[in-house]
């Protein structure tokens, strides 16, 4: 029993392929790619008019388990991923207990085995308990299969810790994923500091709180000759700094989130706590710079920073609401609508940023459609128009600013290791 995908437009950035052909999957691998393939005793999926891409990878999600299962579980989060067209996720360690030791990592992996929707590659904590004081046992974490290290959500304040973490992690070829934020500069802030924060009387998060740490971490990466991946950049100046770092050959990569290239500070005008994210929604100028960065390759990846929060967490005074929005089920539609359809990036670039590059940065051996590769495949209807509806979201939390928004482009089939995990 296998799966034969017929007549789809196959896009593989790694091998520079963009053509109509068939893919035959046997067990968990791609057995054949070519024209007019046929097979016996095999399920056939007609992908005529559809786009077939390597399974999408979201390298930045919060699945909340263990510790905050009322917001999301590994089951609900990975199910949402499958519905959104993702075949692999990397989950951040800010759980309770913190994923700073193999015990928690093994628990996460075993929960995912039971859920059995998508691949889950955990990210371990840089510091014990995300406290920013001592290094986690990184060799131990590496042996339990973490693919990167991050103190996401608790930015590393101490530059000495960042230096030592980069040096130490380099022994294990683990990138450090940095949430760049100077917590002194952003203290008390709840949105972008600008005209809208002034009007609303909300404390601003100045752009410089991100930029100074991007600059710092790039310099530490240069000094230690180590790998740095910068999470969810939101500012024009961050794009410029990273572009320059790459131009001189530093091992720096970065990601940005769909909400940051779609929405601005204006979205907060009604104090909707589902627009409260960190880093905050910024300005049109920043969106333009992010799009330039996506276009010219400065920005390697698109990641969601999927951050589920229960209604009771968000339905409070704006200052008291937690930061974060969900993104797994809207990311693809936003990327197609805002970037591909508008001619900012090509489909091949979409595949790079949502599959190949995250795979390469984290060493996941995925991100391409070639004979012998793991059969992680996403089939997209590029023309399907749909409306984001709260009641249709399978993520346990519904904290999205995109509810009611009309999008184009939707996953219709998600295949993980040859197994259909979502079918529209």
């Amino acid at each position: 029993m296998g799966l034969l995908i017929k007549n789809g437009r196959l896009i593989d950035a790694k091998n520079n392929i963009d053509q109509k052909c068939d893919i035959l999957i046997e067990t968990d691998k791609i057995a054949e790619i070519g024209d007019n393939l046929s097979a016996n005793n095999t399920e056939i999926f007609d992908a005529n008019g559809l786009t077939v891409v390597p399974g999408l990878i979201d390298m930045h999600v919060h699945l909340r388990e263990p510790g905050f299962e009322y917001k999301e579980t590994i089951y609900s989060g990975t199910q949402a991923a499958a519905r959104g067209g993702f075949t692999s996720l990397c989950c951040m360690p800010n759980t309770n207990p913190v994923a700073d030791n193999p015990g928690v990592i093994e628990f996460i992996l075993s929960q995912n085995k039971k859920a059995a929707f998508v691949n889950l590659f955990p990210i371990g904590a840089v510091s014990k308990g995300l406290k920013g004081e001592e290094l986690s046992e990184i060799a131990d974490l590496k042996s339990s299969a973490v693919v990167a290290l991050s103190d996401d959500g608790n930015p590393i304040e101490n530059p000495e810790l960042m230096r030592r973490a980069m040096e130490y992690a380099a022994m294990f070829d683990l990138p450090i994923i940095s949430h760049c934020e100077d917590r002194q500069l952003s203290a008390g802030g709840v949105m972008h500091e600008g005209y809208i924060s002034t009007r609303l009387g909300l404390k601003g998060i100045p752009r410089t709180s991100e930029i100074v740490v991007v600059a710092r971490d790039i310099e530490i990466a240069r000094f230690t000759n180590s790998r740095l991946h910068i999470a969810h950049i939101s500012c024009k100046e961050s794009v410029e700094l990273i572009r320059k770092a790459k131009s001189i050959g530093l091992k720096v990569s970065c990601e940005c989130c769909p909400h940051h290239f779609t929405l601005t500070q204006e979205a907060l005008i009604n104090y909707d706590t589902n627009t409260k994210v960190n880093p905050p929604l910024r300005t049109q100028e920043d969106i333009a710079a992010l799009k330039d960065g996506l276009k010219d390759g400065t920005i390697d990846c698109i990641a969601t920073d999927h951050a589920p929060h229960a209604e009771e967490d968000k339905d409070v005074e704006f200052d008291s609401a937690p930061f974060g929005i969900i993104g797994l089920e809207t990311a693809l539609g936003l990327v197609v609508s805002e970037l591909v359809d508008k001619g900012i990036i090509s489909w091949k670039q979409l595949v790079e940023k949502m599959s190949l590059n995250p795979s390469n940065i984290l060493g996941l051996s995925r991100g391409s459609l070639e004979k012998g590769a793991v059969a992680d495949i996403t089939i997209i209807d590029p023309k399907q128009e749909w409306t984001v509806r709260k009641e249709e979201l399978v993520s346990k939390s519904k904290n999205s600013p995109f509810i009611g928004r009309r999008l184009r482009g939707k996953a219709v089939l998600t295949v993980v290791s040859g197994r259909i995990v979502y079918k529209a």
């Binding site: 002034t198 601003g204 005074e317 200052d319």
Partner: protein
């Protein structure tokens, strides 16, 4: 009375010029009531008004309470320390419970910007914002404008300078919206660290030089400076603040027009943002602001209650 159909009063940004003028006109009628020996009219008899204050307040709370009582409404005051919030109940749940007691108007003060709006969207009674974070304090803005209009005979074309901690001031924001809508020119002045980003987009002139704010001004609205801002590294000391931004008799004599009007929303730090000889001097209308506050709040209570379903009757009926 026509032209008012808002259930809530959340801020002056939302109001039209006509709506602001309607409140000011109504306040003029209500002002007379407080001068009577029997300071009470039955306008809101049978209505229940809840004062929900999550921040300390003397002036605003007493003013609202007296305004409600002079309109014959029943009032209930709840302060944070005695509310269920300390037991962990969410603000929304607390308000839903108050709503279930079938009250008509909820007056709320809260330290978080946007809270009055949030609550207005989830409860049926009228919500009046008595100050939300650094966002708006509409009745203060209205009473300031009422006082200016009473003293100057107009608002259109006046130069109004607001001095002090603009960044953290809801009074400044409500004043700016209201004054701009009525055609005044507004200047904000304070240390650069207390001028919020892009405030000029609200249509105001910005200066960090007090002299510039004094020259040509018809009205000064002097804001309270909070000592806590010093700890937040926003200015070095109250002493230096007083030197640079304190309004003194000497500075007024040198730079200000002879008929300048001095407002302060209180509470004052005498000797810091304002010297006693200015606070108590001939230009000052600071205590008249307090008197006018009751009239303005009576007008606001009357208008929102009417939009919320009080039968129309003569507001001056005894």
């Amino acid at each position: 009375m026509n032209g008012w159909n808002r259930k809530d009063l959340l801020g002056l940004e939302d109001l039209s010029r006509e709506e602001i003028e309607l409140i000011l006109e109504s306040a003029t009628s209500f002002k007379e009531i407080s001068t009577r020996t029997v300071k009470k009219v039955p306008t809101l008899r049978g209505k229940t008004i809840v004062l929900f204050f999550f921040e300390p307040s003397t002036r605003t709370r007493s003013s609202f309470e007296l305004a409600a009582k002079r309109l014959s409404a029943d009032t209930l005051s709840i302060a944070t320390s005695s509310s269920s919030i300390v037991k962990g109940e969410t603000l929304k749940d607390t308000l839903k419970n108050i709503e279930a007691m079938q009250v008509d108007i909820i007056i709320i003060r809260h330290s978080s910007s946007g809270t009055a709006k949030m609550l207005s969207e989830c409860v049926a009674p009228s919500v009046i914002n008595a100050g939300d974070g650094c966002h708006e304090h509409p009745t203060q803005g209205l009473l300031d404008i009422f006082t200016i209009k009473e003293k100057k005979g107009k608002v259109e074309g006046l130069n109004v300078s607001i001095i002090g901690d603009i960044a953290h001031s809801r009074v400044a924001r409500s004043n700016i919206w209201g004054l701009k809508k009525l055609g005044a020119e507004v200047t904000v002045c304070g240390p650069r660290t207390l001028i919020p980003q892009d405030i000029e987009k609200m249509g105001v002139r910005v200066t960090t030089d007090l002299t510039q704010a004094l020259k040509g001004a018809d009205v000064l609205n002097i804001l309270r400076i909070q000592r806590e801002r010093q700890k937040a590294i926003l200015f070095p000391s109250l002493r230096e603040y007083a030197i640079c931004f304190g309004v003194t008799r000497e500075k007024l004599n040198r730079f200000a027009k002879k008929d300048i009007l001095i407002l302060h929303p209180g509470p004052m730090n005498r000797g810091v943002e304002i010297t006693p000889d200015v606070a108590d001097g001939e230009y000052s209308v600071i205590l008249e602001q307090v008197t006018n506050g009751i009239a303005v709040r009576m007008a606001v209570l009357y208008l929102v209650a009417q939009a919320g379903g009080v039968e129309e009757q003569s507001i001056l009926e005894e």
